[in-house]
């Protein structure tokens, strides 16, 4: 038995695969389509693709004043959090707000706002820069706005570990719950970095797919034809509670966070360590934390970004660690890469996979490069009790969650 389990009692998702948990999960689970498209807002960048949350308009989901005073990354989290709280059967009017906290992951705050205001500064002058610049762009503002919206007055924070931010946030939230800092914690991550300067930056790093002639086939984790990731946006929020508290409320948790492991490569700003030692350390730590051994792992939701380097290194590491051959998939084939929010939505997908005992498929995987991994290409019924969700990041910060069915 893990030392510190946290029950996942609520899930809220706003992803390119759909608005709401049901729509997002069904699209990912069925693997019927991929969400990438040529993005007209990125016209300055050659072959710019993105995975957008379909038809999202903050004003349609939030109070209009709140919507215009929040950046898109905050809007995503507010909408997802509201769904997660309702899914958990909680009513903010009834809870002791001082025992409710917010631990969210995010990479860079409201860059859409920053880029817009930089343009105004340049064209019109400092006097015309909006007073809402800082309230909209600060990364921690999402936790501030969420605590205000839901009356959560316990400790609130945003953790930033780039593309492992969501996984790190859930791990930190689990630790703080175990340390009795909260009774309820809203955790996960949000990201809205499909902006011209950010995409240009990723393009200059050679990280993005160029398949604008075939957008639907552009995000293809573990496929030999992969050529980079597709930048995506969205949010995933989980409600974590102690199991006893959830049971006392008569709630059956979706699943449990039973282990968290994190490490730093200490190697390079963008390239993962070539022998995967950092991810290895994070996997080992998560398994130790969950009191589990590799053979207990029945499914892995891989980081699987669709970049040539990541997928090759990750596949080799998983083959070495999990010789019993559990199914492995990267749901980024459907959603694209949500950067800091990726780990959060993938932890949610992993929890839902455990609950339904089904493994979501790898889409666009027609020519698997790693021959020694079980990479399902159709949704697969599967009996399993423990899964891993892996994330890695620029900066070398690796994070792994162990998520259990019971």
């Amino acid at each position: 038995m893990s030392r510190s389990r946290a029950a996942i009692t609520g899930v809220g998702l706003l992803t390119p695969a759909g608005i709401g948990t049901k729509a997002s999960w069904e699209t990912v689970r069925n693997g019927t389509k991929t969400m990438a498209a040529v993005d007209p807002s990125l016209w300055q960048i050659p072959a710019a693709l993105s995975c957008r949350v379909p038809g999202f308009d903050g004003e349609a989901f939030l109070d209009p004043v709140l919507a215009r005073r929040t950046d898109r990354f905050t809007q995503f989290a507010l909408v997802a959090a509201r769904e997660a709280v309702a899914d958990a059967g909680l009513d903010p009017a009834d809870w002791d707000g001082a025992r409710v906290g917010v631990v969210l992951g995010n990479t860079a705050g409201g860059m859409e706002t920053v880029e817009e205001q930089c343009s105004i500064l340049e064209k019109e002058g400092a006097r015309y820069v909006s007073p809402l610049l800082l309230p909209k762009m600060l990364p921690n503002m999402v936790a501030g706005q969420l605590s205000t919206l839901l009356g959560a007055t316990g400790p609130g924070m945003v953790v930033a570990t780039a593309c492992s931010s969501g996984t790190t946030a859930i791990g930190v939230a689990r630790d703080l719950l175990a340390a009795d800092r909260y009774d309820i914690v809203l955790t996960g991550a949000t990201e809205a970095l499909v902006t011209p300067a950010i995409i240009a930056g990723f393009a200059r790093l050679g990280a993005l797919s160029h398949r604008d002639h075939d957008p639907a086939g552009s995000s293809r984790p573990f496929d030999r034809g992969r050529d980079g990731f597709v930048c995506a946006e969205g949010a995933g929020v989980l409600v974590l509670e102690r199991e006893a508290d959830a049971r006392a409320r008569g709630v059956t948790p979706h699943a449990f966070v039973t282990g968290f492991g994190a490490s730093s490569d200490a190697h390079h700003v963008t390239r993962p360590h070539p022998d995967g030692q950092g991810t290895q350390a994070a996997i080992n730590a998560a398994l130790r934390d969950a009191d589990a051994i590799p053979e207990d792992i029945g499914y892995v939701n891989a980081h699987g970004t669709s970049t040539p380097v990541n997928d090759r290194l990750e596949a080799a590491l998983l083959a070495k660690n999990l010789p019993h051959g559990p199914p492995i998939s990267s749901t980024k084939g459907v959603t694209g890469h949500l950067l800091g929010a990726a780990g959060a939505i993938e932890a949610a997908f992993t929890a839902l996979a455990l609950r339904e005992q089904v493994v979501p498929p790898n889409v666009n995987l027609t020519d698997p490069e790693p021959a020694d991994l079980k990479l399902p290409t159709f949704p697969e019924r599967h009996s399993f009790d423990l899964a891993l969700s892996l994330s890695a990041a620029f900066g070398g910060q690796n994070a792994v969650l162990a998520i259990a069915r019971h």
Binding site: E59, P64, V65, A67, R68, R69, R127, Y128, S130, P131, L132, P135
Partner: protein
């Protein structure tokens, strides 16, 4: 002038139309310190009326109607000096 001000408050700042009454305090209508700075810019861009930061801060305690009257007076003054 009230109608023009109301348009800025409701359409640009998304305030609740029902709260934008002549007798409502700006603050009660939803104009906090941030929105006041935005309103100053909107008034400049849409109505051509400029406030200094100090003048703007002093309007914070006004009602919507009083602010509208102030705008009307400023416009009148502008028209007098700009034949």
């Amino acid at each position: 002038m009230f109608a023009e001000l109301k348009t800025l408050l409701v359409q640009n700042l998304k305030l609740d139309e029902r709260m934008v009454m002549p007798e409502s305090l700006l603050e009660d209508a939803g104009i906090d310190s941030l929105a006041l700075v935005e309103l100053g810019l909107l008034v400049e861009q849409h109505l051509g009326i400029t406030f200094t930061e100090e003048e703007l801060v002093r309007t914070a305690s006004l009602t919507v109607g009083q602010f509208s009257d102030l705008l009307a007076a400023r416009r009148q003054k502008l028209q007098e000096v700009t034949p």
